[in-house]
């Protein structure tokens, strides 16, 4: 018979070990970013002992972190390119503007869905939810031809539009759940005081939903930041986000693992920081507002 204290120690050890198993691939990827090609191809694989180098980061971001300013923007023999700073910029532009667009449109709509009653409302909510079910490939294929005809292929505008479409169901349902948390009596008493709907929304309800707004924006940003298929399909090289750019390190003569890991590691940092900021609302966000923590 094991005592309860003993059992609890065992439980803690198992928990730490299992979580370490989940974190290991991230740790491994970060070490690859700081390794030389020789160390990446060590046999047997070497996870602990290596001499950290920032060479991969220097090549990917075109800056020299140590001494000397060699030309690091070389083209790979296989036709790829090391220099990825513009790709990070593309990712930021697309994620920021698609988030602003999606959250703005969704906030307006979800206020009405939370505060007003109209015929077919439940159907409308279900319809919004069902756009979340559309497989990206079913949107990307017609969108490719549509964008080709109107000149939106390979443009910021096109990708911003598609990413905000992708984030709209999440943003609408999530913001609705945050508005639902705010008692309706607040609206009612403001109405009696003679405030218009717009004024109530703008001056009272919106400031009260600030935390929810931030959480929604962070999640929309992350989903745009990590999206792959739309960018792969609707860009033709002059604009590319980090996930798609990462796959270009795979060339006919081999894969530039160190550079790919450097880009991946650098792009994970903002996402990690953001997700830790919204821990409180994370479950609600992941379940589109249907579960509260």
């Amino acid at each position: 018979m094991v005592g309860p204290r003993y059992a609890s120690t065992v439980r803690q050890i198992i928990a730490w070990l299992l979580v370490a198993l989940f974190v290991f691939p991230i740790y491994h990827w970060v070490t690859v970013a700081f390794k030389t090609p020789k160390e990446i191809f060590d046999k047997p694989p070497n996870v602990w002992r290596f001499t950290p180098t920032v060479e991969n980061f220097e090549q990917v971001f075109g800056i020299s972190l140590g001494f000397g300013f060699g030309d690091v923007r070389e083209v790979l023999p296989g036709g790829g390119n090391f220099y990825m700073a513009p790709r990070v910029w593309d990712s930021i532009v697309i994620a920021v503007f698609s988030t602003i667009l999606a959250v703005t449109v969704a906030t307006l709509a979800s206020y009405a869905l939370s505060r007003m009653r109209f015929r077919g409302q439940q159907h409308f909510v279900n319809w919004v939810l069902s756009t979340r079910m559309m497989p990206p490939v079913a949107v990307a294929i017609p969108m490719f031809f549509l964008f080709k005809n109107v000149g939106l292929l390979d443009t910021y505008t096109g990708l911003i539009l598609v990413h905000s479409l992708m984030n709209l169901p999440l943003a609408v349902l999530l913001m609705k759940s945050f508005f639902d948390d705010i008692p309706k009596e607040i609206d009612e008493s403001a109405t009696i005081d003679g405030a218009s709907r717009w004024l109530i929304f703008r001056r009272i309800i919106l400031p009260m939903a600030k935390g929810g707004l931030a959480a929604t924006a962070v999640l929309a940003f992350i989903f745009s930041w990590t999206e792959f298929l739309f960018v792969l399909t609707l860009s033709q090289g002059s604009i590319q986000t980090v996930p798609v750019a990462s796959s270009t390190f795979v060339t006919s003569i081999g894969t530039a693992w160190g550079n790919m890991a450097a880009l991946g590691t650098a792009s994970m940092v903002p996402a990690f920081l953001f997700i830790l900021l919204v821990q409180k609302h994370l479950v609600r966000g992941l379940t589109l507002g249907s579960l509260k923590q």
Partner: protein, 297 residues
Amino acid sequence: MAVANLTRRRSALFDHPLPWLLPLIAILALLAIFPLFYSIWLSFYEWSTFNRQLEFVGWRNWATLFDDDRLSASLIVTFSYFAIALSFELVLGMGLALLLDADHRGFGFLRGALTLTLVIPPAVAGMMFLLMEDAEFGVITYVLQTIGLIDRGTPILATPSLALAGVLLVEIWQWTPFMVLIFMAGLRSLPTEPFEAALIDGASWWMTFRRITLPMMGKVIAIAVLIRGIDLFRVFDYVFVMTSGGPGTRTFSLSLYAWQQTFSFVKWGYGATLSLVTLAIVLVIANLFIWLTKVRW
């Protein structure tokens, strides 16, 4: 008087839901409904490489569906992927959630660490595992060889019997934490009385879990299954960067097939038809599931 009227009319405008919903309806109509109809239209045409134009082919693309070995192969891959990944993520997720649902020191940190996998771009996660599953330099390959599960120099992702498992590994790694977070929130929200009663009655741990925890977690589990299931069914990123559907058709998902037909083989009409099939399957299964489990938004 006129000014007052004007203000009232302006405020009356916002009393109606339509102005609030209009931007949303406009974007969804432009970017979700129009492409849908365009796909349907496209499925009755095919690009002719000889004449260099779209030609009307009637129901041909739809008829091809019923006589397409690659489609049946991709359906089998997609459904297996869906079922295996979902089972593992549910069971592992529930196990980890029960394990971490305690107030020990550092458990908050562990929960935070688990969320990290969720924000890694799936394409990048695929690359991470591509390196770790490399036949010569991969850590996972090395560990599996050392414990004798696979032979020396076995390329996991190029071996027909192992390729799907190799892709499922990254899938399960990245999304089990999704289940853990949702289940932990669910466990936290359960009332304590039934558990106290079970303790007094001397019910075993397994009995308590089977008869109290699981039934009370029904809604939470249903929502987790729905949201993860929708994404599982349209898997693309992992197979695209890790295997391109190979070896043979062992990891050839439905989304990948539709994409490849359109953009690699210039079969625009058939690609659109396949994407509509994917859409139809997801919509039917998801709505059936919502109807059966009575999940509400």
